[in-house]
Each structure stands twice: as C-alpha cells, then as structure tokens.
C-alpha cells in the first residue's frame, strides 16, 4: 500500500515537474543564457527522466514534450516531436544496455543527447537556405555552446530522478 502511494506521488510530482519546466522554458521568464548559449532545460529533464525510465515511457515523454515545444516554436513542422522522442529512446536504451547509470556515464550520455539534438537542429534548419557562414556561425556560436550548457542542467534532474527511483 505504501509502495503504491509513493509510486503514485512520484508520478504526479514527475508530471508537475515536466509541466513547470516546459512552461518556464517556453515563457522564458528566467533568463539563463550565457552570451549565445541557451540551456535547453526541457531536454536536460527529458534525458534525466529517460535514464531511469523504461523505453516506452521515455519515448512517450519525448513525444509529449516535443509536440508541446512544436506548438511554441515557428517552422519546426514536428521536428521536436520526432527528434525528442528518438533521443529520449536512445538515452534510455544506451543507459540500460551499453552504459550504466552512474553520474559520469549519465553526463556523457546527456552531452551526447544534447549534441545530437543541436546538430540535427542545425542540419534541418541551417544547412539548406542559409549561407555557409551563417550556418557555421549557428553551429559553433549557438549549437555547441548550448549543447554543453544543456548537459550541465542534467545534474539536478539526475539527482531528483535517482532519489525517486530509490523511493520506489
């Protein structure tokens, strides 16, 4: 009975956490940018969640978050829905089968996930229709810096979900 209650409470807290992080990210009230590096906090949360979750749950969390983000950004045409779902699935599968879930491995997976997202973003939106200079400026000044900065934000979420896993 106690196990069921804590598990339900954790599910509710996780859902609230996702809603708040998504809303804070899309409204942009708190500016966490350092020069051009923008932390993709939603991806950090999703990565941390996928580290401790099942492939199906991770994929659907990625899909839900992606559809929400597509509704707030222009011209993405479902990019976030597909890419976040696949990245979330990738993180879950690699952490369960290839790496383990210690902090170092999790940070490496998170960095890989963030770099993958920003490289795909660049490939979809900045290769075609942009000059080479503009395209490379985005990749170097915005993409890579944001990917590294995003990986830093995985830390607090990693500890939250690790704590949740212990409770269950």
């Amino acid at each position: 009975m106690i196990k069921f209650n804590s598990s339900t409470a954790i599910k509710i807290i996780t859902a609230i956490l996702f809603v708040f992080v998504c809303l804070f990210f899309s409204i942009g009230t708190i500016d966490l940018r350092i020069k051009n590096a923008t932390p993709f906090t939603v991806l950090a949360l999703l990565t941390a969640y996928a580290l401790f979750s099942s492939p199906t749950k991770s994929a659907f969390a990625g899909l839900a978050v992606g559809v929400f983000l597509d509704s707030t950004s222009g011209g993405t045409y479902g990019f976030n829905s597909v890419v976040l779902m696949l990245i979330s699935l990738f993180v879950c599968i690699t952490s369960n089968n290839i790496f383990n879930k210690n902090l170092k491995a999790s940070l490496v997976i998170s960095l890989l996930a963030a770099v993958t997202y920003f490289v795909l973003y660049w490939a979809f939106f900045y290769i075609i229709g942009c000059s080479l200079r503009e395209s490379l400026t985005y990749l170097i000044n915005y993409g890579f810096t944001s990917a590294v900065y995003t990986a830093v934000f995985v830390l607090p979420f990693y500890y939250i979900f690790k704590f949740f896993q212990k409770l269950i």
């Binding site: 009230t29 222009g74 479902g78 942009c130 000044n141």
Partner: protein, 287 residues
Amino acid sequence: MRFFFSSKQFKIIVAVTLSIIAIAVLSMLLGSRISPQSDIIGTITAPFKAAFTHLSNSVSDFVSVYKDGTKTQLENTELEAELNELRQQMADYEKITKENEFYKNYLEIKENHPDFKFVPAYRIARDNLDPYKSFTINKGSLDGVSANDPIITNAGLVGYISEVGLTTSKVATVLSPDITFGALGNRTNDSGIVSGTIELAGSMRTKFFNLSRSCNIAIGDYVVTSGEGVFPAGLLVGEIKSVGSDTYNTSIYAEVEPFADIENIREVMVITDFEGKGGLNAEGGSK
C-alpha cells in the same frame, strides 16, 4: 533490448513517428499554416501559457518595484507592512499607467494611419532556441489574423506573422534573415533593404544594406519602412548604430537597433489590414 524492438510499444512508436513525418510534409506543402498537431496542442495549452505568462509578469513587476524601493533598511514592521501595501498599489498604478500609455500611443499611430486595422495581442510563449527571438501570440485566424500581417509595438516594428493557427500565431522578428523589406533613412531618404543576419541577431540588431555609396546615412538616423515588401510605409524600424561598406566595397550597410524591445516584448498590435496590403511576402517574393 531485443524484446523491446519486437514489442507492440515499439511498433506504436514507429507508427507515431511516421505519422508525424507525414503530417510535417503535408504542413510544409501547405505553407504558412501551423501544423495540425501543433495547432491542436497550441490551442489547448494557450490559456495555461497565457495564465503562466501573466503570473510571471506580475511577479517580475512586483519584484522590480520591490528591488527599486528597498535601498534603505526599515526597522519598523508596521511601516514595512504599510510600505509593502503602497508598493503593491504602486505596481498596480504603474501597470494601469503603462496600459494607458500603450493604448494612447496606438491611438496616435491609428490617427496617423487611418487605414490601419489593429488587433491587440500579447506574447504567450517564445522560442528560446531561436537566435532570432521568434515568439507566439495569443491571436490566430479566428481573430482575423492572417499570415504576413505586420506586428508592431508603440515603439516600432517587431516583425510579421510567419505561421497562423486558429487561436495562436508565430511571429518572426526583424532580426530574422527570413524578413526582407524596403526601408528609408528618415533624414536623408536613402533607400535600402532591411534583413537580419545571425551575426547581428546576438547583439539584437538587424542589417540595413544595399545603400548607394553616395548616401549620406549616419549614426543616429532613424530607419522607417518604405512600403516595399510586406509592411506598410512609414513604420519606425530602429536607429542606426554603425555604418560600414560591404566586402567588395560596392555599397554601404548600416547596423540598426530596433526601437521595439524585442527581447522583453509583452504586448503587441497586429496590423490586420492597411492600404496596399497584399504586395510582396515577407521573404521578398510575390504572393
């Protein structure tokens, strides 16, 4: 892992992915329309986003008033309470004053341009990963907003509607290279083209280029729309902050800082109709 790839859940994930890709391709073919899944989610989540934006704006307003007022330490708790109450009133008063100013300024624009039809809107979300600061407003096709409608604030031009949904719309700002429109220097009437670049977007500026080498443009001049492109003539764009010549030294360009505070925008006006509407689209092509 092998079990997962042969599971029913995995097949569902593949089906969902393929359907999203199919919808995305269809949406791209349709053009300036928000994709159906984004439109549905955008419509459902719009009230929450609006409520959250309103709440966070109120908190940041209150905090800024509080920060400005507490330079000296107050010892008397009664006085502190009274002061807090007054601050709250002050915040409310400032909000009302701002709102009045907002509408007064639009009234002036309306007087100068009687052909303009406005729809007031406010920002409910922004695309934080977009270096060109695009954002979402709480008005869509149900409110008479259509693709390519200009967006202004009382300070000046902000951008245009890049995608329109039922109850929300996406705004591309003047910092974006997707926008190209004709503009004039207010003092010299030198004409050129305004379009954003990724290098200037970081410093919240846009580029005024293709200016003749004999032009007399100078730092401090204002840039206004010329009416070529998607925007009506006479809208204030920004102030010239620097002037230079292009790589091959054939023409002059200037860096322009928009008058509208694009980074911290809250309320905007959509110009849904004006004289001469329906010329070129925002990218500079014909409609």
